[in-house]
């Protein structure tokens, strides 16, 4: 706890400089006016998915009412309009993570598809029997299972970086795991169940020193912090639109063109080809080689609007506000009798996981829901993390820039009601 407070103290300067107007921001999110069970909605399940501002909803709707058409093929007015929306969104995504070239942005359904693409296309051609892939103990199932499937297919071996009791990566163990057999490293930037911010730049440097490429799972980092893939130096970076206030079913993969150029296509179909005959097909160039079929154009339009929304607020203001929520929440929630925080890393995003000795998370979730508070209960698609901490499940409150201290108070009051009933 003291570590989180120390981190918070360091940040108070930037916090003073960049206060954000939460009440004004909240008005941009129509869903926050919902009243579940007759209570004002307190939405603290942002690590599962974030809510959408009106501008994102409008971008999706106006695509369908003003531009709907297929892209990259028509010569007519609407098709050009739709293609423009789609391709300018690619440049918008490029700016969002500071990628060198928009051809290195591949639109996919989300982080899960992005990882599967790299696993299948890069892994399928570069990783073989006896080779090793390194992931970490705090990965989401989406960064475990695809690699397990690859290992089963190829005879490669999965290695796992352990974590300590605070929920931080054991970097000393990572150094030991890196070896001549290591062919790939795939790690999460921010843990969805613990909130830990991993030292990915250091991981990339260590892996690159051995000539090993690195994928960074950015599903949970992109909503909270400024991402610069050139600064990180990673080979691949992933983003899920619905976690960054954009639509569901859309996201992107950033990949260095030196890799993407030599990787085989992931899906076959229309748009990913230059020439097709029954004898031979010539694949299209980047990024189209990896975007077979008519894509989620409305989703891409909404995603670009989400990036605009985030950048308009500014990452400095977002980070300062969320850090204050984290510090306040960890102190207040952590002080509840018989409650244990799971994940107390020194560097954390605004995620608070906890368990109570005598009250199961599922019961907590149902009770706080009746007070209008949405939190996630369960294993958060990170069963190995639950096994590490010896718990079947946790309750998780995760904050976004539209959350407030008073919402945390509402959660805490709801938790006290559960305690009264169960311990009463």
């Amino acid at each position: 706890m003291s570590q989180i407070e120390t981190l918070g103290a360091e940040q108070t300067h930037s916090q003073r400089e960049s206060r954000l107007d939460v009440e004004k921001i909240r008005k941009e999110f129509p869903i926050l006016r919902q009243r579940p069970h007759g209570k004002p909605l307190v939405y603290l399940d942002n690590a599962a998915t974030t809510q959408k501002p009106q501008s994102v909803i409008d971008a999706v709707a106006s695509y369908y009412s003003e531009a709907n058409s297929n892209i990259h093929r028509g010569v007519h007015y609407l098709s050009e309009k739709a293609t423009n929306i789609y391709e300018s969104a690619r440049k918008r995504a490029q700016r969002f993570v500071n990628a060198p070239d928009s051809r290195e942005i591949i639109f996919v359904r989300g982080t899960t598809e992005a990882i599967n693409l790299v696993c299948s296309s890069y892994g399928g051609t570069h990783i073989g029997e006896g080779d090793e892939v390194i992931i970490s103990h705090m990965e989401h199932h989406s960064n475990i299972v695809p690699w397990q499937m690859l290992c089963q297919r190829t005879g490669a071996i999965l290695r796992v970086i352990p974590i300590n009791e605070e929920g931080e990566l054991r970097m000393d163990e990572f150094a030991k795991l890196l070896g001549p057999r290591t062919k790939f490293v795939s790690v999460v930037h921010v843990s969805n169940s613990l909130g830990t911010i991993n030292p990915v730049k250091q991981i990339v440097e260590m892996a690159h020193a051995q000539g090993v490429p690195v994928l960074v799972d950015g599903a949970q980092s992109t909503p909270h912090m400024k991402i610069d893939v050139q600064d990180l130096g990673c080979d691949f970076y992933t983003c899920s639109g619905h976690k960054v206030f954009g639509p569901t079913g859309i996201g992107f993969l950033y990949g260095k063109s030196e890799h993407l150029d030599v990787m085989p296509p992931y899906h076959g179909g229309g748009d990913m080809i230059k020439y097709v005959s029954f004898d031979k097909t010539v694949y299209n160039e980047l990024p189209y080689k990896f975007e077979a079929g008519t894509p989620n154009i409305s989703g891409v339009a909404g995603l670009a609007a989400a990036f605009d929304f985030i950048d308009d607020i500014g990452h400095a203001a977002i980070e300062a506000h969320e850090l204050e929520l984290l510090r306040y929440g960890a102190e207040k929630i952590g002080a509840i009798d018989g409650l244990r925080l799971i994940g107390t890393a020194q560097h954390k995003a605004s995620v608070i996981s906890f368990v109570m000795d005598d009250i199961h998370s599922h019961d907590i979730g149902t009770f706080v829901d009746h007070e209008g508070v949405a939190i996630r209960v369960g294993h958060h698609c990170t069963q190995p993390v639950m096994q590490h901490f010896g718990v079947p499940a946790t309750s998780r409150a995760s904050f976004a820039f539209y959350n407030t201290r008073s919402e945390i108070d509402t959660l805490i009051n709801a938790l006290h009601k559960v305690i009264d009933i169960f311990r009463g």
Binding site: H362, T366, V377, Q383, M386, A393, I421
Partner: protein, 149 residues
């Protein structure tokens, strides 16, 4: 909080706090159940002789609803015949998915009635059913891991 009180009746809270027939049973057949949604797991120990469930115990981890359901189930099924137990499974299943009035006229709900409120909480039906599904599979002699998915 009326429907919430309906869900968390005192009987359920009592069984959660002091579950009956809790713990392992030596020299007994066993069956496991798992709810992948929330990570709840249960292990049932059964002694079945001449078509009678002579003894039944459980262990595992889960929420109040799943623990109380398992606890109450053991008190109901112990000493009953396998066919009576299977009938109870059907009654319970109907109760938490359809409600008390759905085709259970001829059957006494007894202690099961405290789970009627579960029907109003679709996310919790699986919690209440886990123990019963595990028992059902065990009595049918199916492979030993039941899942509510």
């Amino acid at each position: 909080m009326t429907d919430l009180q309906e869900l968390y009746q005192q009987v359920i809270l009592d069984h959660n706090k002091s579950p009956r027939n809790f713990g392992a049973l030596e020299n007994a057949a066993s069956a496991e159940g798992f709810n992948p949604l929330c990570g709840d797991s249960i292990k049932l120990y059964l002694v079945v002789n001449d078509g009678m469930v002579e003894d039944l115990r459980f262990e595992g981890s889960g929420c109040a609803i799943s623990k109380a359901s398992a606890s109450i189930m053991t008190t109901l099924v112990k000493g009953k015949s396998v066919s009576e137990a299977q009938k109870m499974f059907d009654v319970f299943h109907n109760l938490v998915t359809e409600g008390a009035d759905a085709g259970n006229d001829s059957v006494e709900l007894g202690k099961m009635a405290v789970f009627e409120g579960v029907r109003e909480f679709p996310a919790r039906v699986k919690c209440a059913s886990l123990a019963w599904h595990t028992l059902h599979n065990a009595l049918l002699g199916k492979e030993s891991v039941a899942s509510t998915e």
